[in-house]
């Protein structure tokens, strides 16, 4: 565990996680809008849609910051 991590070990899993995971997430968001399960005319639904988008970037930021810190700090 002493070698400096290469791309396969550091950023590739991150890209796969938020790329393929992002496809599931985006597909889910599109489905809830298309089905009108998320009704944009209701304030609480708009708030929840924003929370969902925040959550995706929240975790992407946590993982990104941890990888950056591991490699650079």
């Amino acid at each position: 565990m002493d070698e400096y991590p290469d791309f396969d070990r550091s950023w590739l899993p991150y890209i796969y996680l938020y790329g393929v995971g992002g496809i599931f997430f985006l597909g889910g968001m599109l489905l809830v809008f298309k089905s009108k399960a998320c009704d944009w005319t209701r304030a609480s639904h708009r708030r929840w849609a924003k929370v969902l988008i925040f959550g995706y970037f929240w975790y992407a930021a946590i993982h990104g910051a941890l990888i950056y810190s591991a490699l650079n700090v």
């Binding site: 565990m1 002493d2 070698e3 400096y4 991590p5 396969d8 070990r9 550091s10 590739l12 899993p13 991150y14 796969y16 996680l17 393929v20 995971g21 992002g22 599931f24 997430f25 889910g28 968001m29 489905l31 809830v32 089905s35 009108k36 399960a37 998320c38 209701r42 304030a43 609480s44 639904h45 929840w48 929370v51 969902l52 959550g55 995706y56 929240w58 975790y59 946590i62 993982h63 941890l66 990888i67 810190s69 591991a70 490699l71 700090v73």
Partner: protein, 648 residues
């Protein structure tokens, strides 16, 4: 939980004198036992106290759908952390670094479908169990199939939990206790309070346990940082690769990112959010869909990252200790023992007792959630349908008694399952095979049922039957069926070069999901469309689900909660409340709208609350008149103010 048993079993091989001392000390220290037994007394006390809040099966299984999001969140933490998390994640983190806990940080991708799909469906359609959804969505045969699979899965899980706990306590109790005797004692303790306490008891004990678990883990982390002399010293001790939060992409067949992504981030997340009957019951215990959403979101956004630190930090600390002083934590340390070794290094005997109590709490949470869930499935999906077939109608009190008997029965069968699992050499691989074989068909069936209107009954049957057959085939033909989609994960041991006996153990989840989803999709497309009323059962008809829940058109005008005194009015019809005209205007409420009445003290989390409907107005001033059943269900105390809210 299994950490202690594994510590005792492997301590000789691990070569750690500290761990050996911990094992020897634990069973002989009065303060250790005082703390551990004190914890059990508190748990039993909680169960007994909250049992009095059960007046119906709705109370017993769903806590009367009354609780606030924060209470449910902490309860989910205790259930989610689970029985062997401290052992498993500390060990993985010791071996693989921060990536050992990545399974805790990848659950967000399916949240849109849960928050706007599955949660409102089960809540508004009053789905009491997952198999019940299968009958409403498909037919009784699919329900029976789902019931059988789900019961076997959950009973097996109870058995695993009881056995793990017994193996943990065995070495501490000494040779005078046999494994089966310990299993029985553990089962009685777990069974008693769930049998008499029901879901309300579970939620409140889990609230306590959730706090204990997080507190214990974070305290351990702080103690560890202190041992190093601060965070910077700790951080600089660790190599860069150890600090990466995601593991190698596909190099290591024993722990690779891509396999864990499909096994945990996809299959595990869907299974946890959509198929876990215990978790479903937690969300149904929330006072509203919105509170269920808050509980789920807060849990995943904030509680899970904290939980990840709590359950994994011993592995990080242990690795750092090893690099600084290999005589303290040996490089040859068995990863399964690292939590106990680190805990014993950092704490006193009393502190060690506290940590034993904390991880015991984790197991208790898992076991009693499962027992309550089995009881719910038995009453709703076995006893209920059989009674209906025989033309017998039972009242709710009868079902409540059946639920209690079912809880006790589930505990006894769980003991039997624990005994059968004790015959296996490798408990976790046996359970892993069991788990990965039964979960994907249910997951695929629920998922397609909710989100694909075309998905029909024949497709659902194929998902169960053909899907399971293909999963089993995959076990026997891994190179032919799994390797082509294995993303380059090797099937040989990289160190020895020998072929692995069970290759693709993580990436196999992708094949299992494809097998089940594929079976369902192909058969559905090859068979006729069904003319079935799916109102409220898919995410395309949630407006209808809300209307059906209320019984009339929802009223979404924004109002303001009102704080009032209350009076009992026995002349009101069942489920009714009345307020004066001014209060109704402030609430933006109309006759027939749904009301939620709660004790003003928010810290009770909704324990003293009830649902009702507005039945007109009165002229008695700032007070709410309660029907007899609303008063009874709310457990309101004399002289206390209530807050009344309009739901919709």
């Amino acid at each position: 939980m299994a950490m202690f048993s594994l510590l005792m079993q492997h301590v000789a091989q691990s070569g750690s004198d500290v761990a050996a001392a911990a094992a020897a000390d634990a069973g002989s220290s009065p303060i250790f036992w005082f703390i551990v037994l004190g914890y059990f007394a508190v748990v039993l006390g909680f169960g007994s106290y909250f049992a009095r809040f059960n007046k119906s099966t709705s109370d017993f299984f769903f806590g009367g759908r009354r609780f606030s999001w924060w209470l449910i969140t902490m309860s989910i933490v205790a259930t989610g952390v689970g029985s062997h998390s401290f052992l498993k994640y500390s060990g993985k983190s010791f071996e693989h670094g921060f990536s050992g806990s990545m399974a805790y940080m990848n659950d967000w991708f399916f949240m849109p479908l849960f928050i706007f799909g599955w949660l409102p469906i089960i809540y508004y359609m009053k789905v009491r169990s997952i198999p019940e959804y299968f009958e409403r969505r498909f037919n009784a045969k699919v329900r029976a199939l789902a019931t059988g699979v789900l019961l076997m899965y959950m009973l097996g899980y109870v058995g695993i939990g009881l056995l793990t706990m017994a193996k943990t306590l065995g070495p501490i109790l000494g040779d005078s206790w046999s494994l089966m005797e310990i299993i029985w004692v553990v089962a009685v303790v777990a069974g008693v309070y769930i049998t008499f306490g029901g879901q309300t008891a579970v939620i409140f004990t889990d609230l306590l346990q959730g706090f204990i678990l997080l507190f214990a883990g974070i305290i351990l982390f702080v103690l560890g940082l202190n041992w190093f002399g601060g965070f910077d010293a700790f951080w600089n001790t660790l190599p860069a690769e150890f600090k990466l939060p995601l593991s190698n992409f596909n190099d290591d067949p024993g722990f690779n990112f891509v396999g864990i992504f499909w096994q945990d981030a996809v299959a595990g997340s869907i299974g946890f959010l959509f198929m876990n009957q215990g978790l479903v019951m937690r969300f149904l215990a929330c006072r509203s869909v919105d509170h269920g959403r808050k509980a789920a979101a807060f849990n995943i956004l904030f509680a899970l990252p904290v939980s990840a630190i709590a359950v994994s930090c011993a592995g990080w600390i242990g690795y750092g200790m090893m690099t600084q002083d290999p005589t303290l934590v040996s490089p040859d340390t068995d990863p399964d023992t690292v939590f106990v070794i680190v805990t014993r290094i950092l704490t006193t005997k009393a502190g060690f007792g506290f940590f034993v109590a904390a991880v015991t709490a984790a197991l208790m949470s898992t076991v009693d959630t499962l027992i309550n869930a089995i009881s719910a499935v038995f009453v709703n999906d076995v006893y209920g349908p059989i009674s209906k077939l025989r033309g017998i109608q039972h009242d709710d009190k009868h079902h409540l008694k059946v639920a209690m008997v079912a809880s006790a029965g589930a505990t006894v069968i769980g003991v039997g399952a624990a005994w059968s699992f004790s015959l296996f050499d490798n408990l976790y691989e046996a359970h892993g095979f069991f788990h990965s074989t039964f979960t994907p068909p249910l997951v695929a069936c629920i998922f397609m049922g909710i989100f694909w209107r075309r998905f029909n009954t024949t497709g659902a049957m194929a998902t169960f039957l053909a899907g399971t057959v293909m999963i089993i085939l995959g076990r026997f033909l891994p190179h032919e069926l799994i390797e082509p989609i294995a993303h380059g994960v090797p099937s040989i041991d990289p160190e020895t070069g020998e072929a692995l006996s069970a290759p693709f153990k993580y990436i196999g989840a992708l094949y299992n999901l494809m097998a089940c989803f594929g079976s369902g999709i192909v058969v559905t497309l090859l068979t006729n469309k069904e003319n079935k009323d799916l109102e409220g059962l898919t995410m395309f008809s949630l407006t209808a689900a809300r209307r059906m829940f209320k019984g009339s058109e929802p009223n979404d005008r924004v109002g303001f909660p009102q704080t009032v005194t209350y009076e009992l009015d026995t002349s009101l019809p069942l489920g009714a409340v009345r307020m004066d005209r001014e209060a109704m205007n402030h609430l933006a409420a109309e006759q027939g709208d749904l009301a939620y009445i709660c004790d003003k003290r928010k810290w009770l989390g909704g324990l003293r609350s009830a649902h009702a409907y507005f039945d007109g107005v009165h002229n008695s001033g700032e007070t709410v008149l309660l029907a007899q059943d609303v008063y009874d269900n709310g457990h309101f105390l004399p002289g206390k103010l209530l807050v009344v809210e309009k739901e919709f």
